[in-house]
């Protein structure tokens, strides 16, 4: 069976094609993606992001089909992101999926974006039953599978970790290319001084807004780009990463201990940060657990993850009626009944 997946819940639009053969073989056939980049210091607005996705969805679809060497006749199911995400971009991509479904006569499957990340990560890494740390611009969750659902054990109670990093990158005026978190990661490598920052862990939950406002006031008090500043921009990036990643690793470890699990999987855009992966790996080693992680091709939003999760559901009989193909900005990971595990 061959699935095409459409993702556009935030500032990336991706189209992925995935094949599951009858003998159990899984093949990645194509996974092109395009990112809407804004000028330094600026975030992305829903309206402009939707326009970006509208402009790229057809070229990307053609590109994916060409790369996979397929025609529309080869596609068995069309999968698209139902949510969570930004309303405008989500519906733009859903309209494209619906149109192609009618045009090609192929059924639709609506997919939860977070479940897409998890299933993509499991497929690529071979992790069987991991505790999942899902970290992106919009989400920070510690997840484990139990009784047919991906249950949220811990989460950020205010802003997502990716949002915290992105906003701080904007405060420092760092470029948004390839993405703000990458800029912070590069600068952090050159930082030497650890600045004392708020550290807020409540059980398996974390909070980042206090850190962000503290960082803001540090920048306000001393311009880190001036030669006589007590700390450099590199030091600030370093301290921010060391602190927020320590919090994330800590709540992941709390979930591992509580559940008695021995596998950790990191997914989501922040999950390709090598410092975070390194820290998580060290935690895993110290407790005899095993870390699974992927690179930016798969952990940053992409179409393939939607194809993968949609195809798993479809093989277990899931089809979304055209009338039910609406999108939703809020869609919790644990709302999805997982029938394929």
């Amino acid at each position: 069976m061959i699935a095409i997946g459409f993702e556009g819940s935030a500032n990336k639009i991706g189209v992925g094609i995935m094949e599951h053969s009858d003998d159990g073989k899984v093949s990645v056939l194509a996974n092109p993606r395009h990112t809407y980049i804004t000028p330094p210091g600026q975030g992305f607005l829903p309206k402009d992001t939707a326009a970006h996705h509208r402009a790229h969805v057809i070229p990307l679809t053609l590109e994916a089909l060409a790369e996979a060497n397929l025609t529309p006749k080869d596609i068995d199911v069309i999968c698209f992101t139902k949510g969570p995400g930004m309303g405008g971009p989500l519906t733009t991509v859903a309209i494209a999926a619906r149109t192609l479904s009618l045009l090609w006569g192929v059924p639709l499957v609506a997919v939860n974006h977070c479940v897409g990340h998890i299933e993509m990560g499991r497929m690529i890494t071979g992790a069987d039953n991991p505790v999942v740390l899902y970290v992106s611009g919009g989400n920070t969750q510690v997840i484990a599978f139990s009784e047919q659902r991906y249950r949220i054990f811990g989460e950020a109670i205010d802003i997502a970790v990716g949002n915290c990093l992105d906003r701080f990158a904007r405060i420092l005026g760092l470029p948004n290319e390839p993405f703000p978190g990458w800029q912070i990661e590069q600068r952090a490598k050159k930082g030497t001084q650890l600045i004392d920052l708020p550290y807020t862990v409540k059980g398996m939950d974390v909070s980042f807004s206090g850190i962000l406002s503290h960082m803001e006031s540090l920048v306000r008090d001393h311009d880190p780009y001036l030669p006589d500043a007590p700390y450099t921009a590199d030091d600030l990036c370093f301290s921010l990463q060391e602190t927020v990643f320590a919090m994330l690793v800590e709540i992941t470890e709390r979930a591992l201990a509580h559940i008695g699990a021995t596998e950790v999987l990191i997914v989501g855009g922040v999950g390709c940060n090598e410092r975070l992966q390194g820290m998580m790996g060290e935690m895993a080693t110290q407790r005899g657990a095993h870390l699974f992680a992927t690179d930016e091709r798969f952990c940053i939003d992409n179409g393939l993850m939607i194809a993968q999760a949609g195809l798993l559901a479809h093989k277990h009989g899931v089809v979304t009626d055209l009338t039910d193909t609406w999108c939703t900005q809020r869609y919790r990971t644990d709302e999805v009944l997982v029938t394929w595990r």
């Binding site: 969570p84 409540k202 201990a257």
Partner: protein
């Protein structure tokens, strides 16, 4: 007789942040909880968190035990080694107990909920917030009519704020619903008993409504 043999420590558990060993202490069965150095953490941050938590845990264990809540007796605190020696609790965690006996029958559920609520009520009335209420951090002593033991006070702190106490209960609610999916009535029973058994319970439960509402609004985005 002088004790010539060095005490032998046996690892029984690696918890959320510490390793727990059984070790004889002055002839009594004891454990030593060691907050070992976390390789993933920057050394400065690691030292700060570890020393703060060792002190906090020892202090809170001691204080709430004196108030009549069952917790392990603290024998010795070694700040340099980041270890706490305490009474060994012969029993099992509430998590393992629920997993082994689910579904809980109604009577048993009410009894267990009342024990938990009484301990939490006394603790909150003393303005101590646990900070990590899960079923792994509650134990039941072996034997008939087992006493409920609160453990793991590493994230605890002192606060008079109703908000902090409500968040404490919310953390427990989330831990219950994710670990033991069909236990809504169990948590409700805890809340009912908490209202009856704690002096400051009513406003905390009212605040819990707000905290939950915020939680529901926070449904995943992008």
């Amino acid at each position: 007789m002088p004790d010539t043999q060095p005490p032998v420590a046996t690892l029984i558990k690696q918890g959320a942040e510490a390793r727990v060993y059984t070790i004889p202490f002055a002839g009594r069965p004891a454990i030593v909880k060691e907050r070992f150095r976390k390789a993933y953490r920057h050394p400065t941050l690691d030292e700060k968190l570890t020393s703060r938590r060792v002190v906090q845990e020892a202090r809170c264990l001691h204080r709430i035990r004196r108030a009549g809540v069952d917790t392990p007796t603290v024998y010795l605190v070694d700040l340099k080694a980041s270890t706490i020696y305490m009474e060994f609790i012969d029993g099992i965690s509430v998590r393992d107990h629920i997993l082994a006996t689910s579904p809980l029958n109604h009577q048993h559920e009410r009894e267990l909920a009342t024990k938990i609520a009484k301990s939490l009520g006394v603790m909150h009335d003393m303005d101590i917030v646990h900070g990590d209420l899960t079923t792994s951090n509650m134990m039941m002593r072996a034997g008939d009519n087992p006493s409920l033991v609160l453990i793991d006070f590493g994230l605890s702190f002192v606060s008079t704020l109703v908000e902090d106490k409500a968040v404490d209960l919310y953390v427990l609610e989330r831990a219950l619903s994710s670990t033991h999916p069909d236990t809504d009535s169990f948590f409700q029973a805890i809340l009912n008993a908490y209202a009856k058994n704690s002096k400051g319970g009513k406003p905390v439960l009212k605040k819990l409504e707000d905290v939950r509402r915020r939680g529901r609004k926070r449904t995943a985005f992008g």
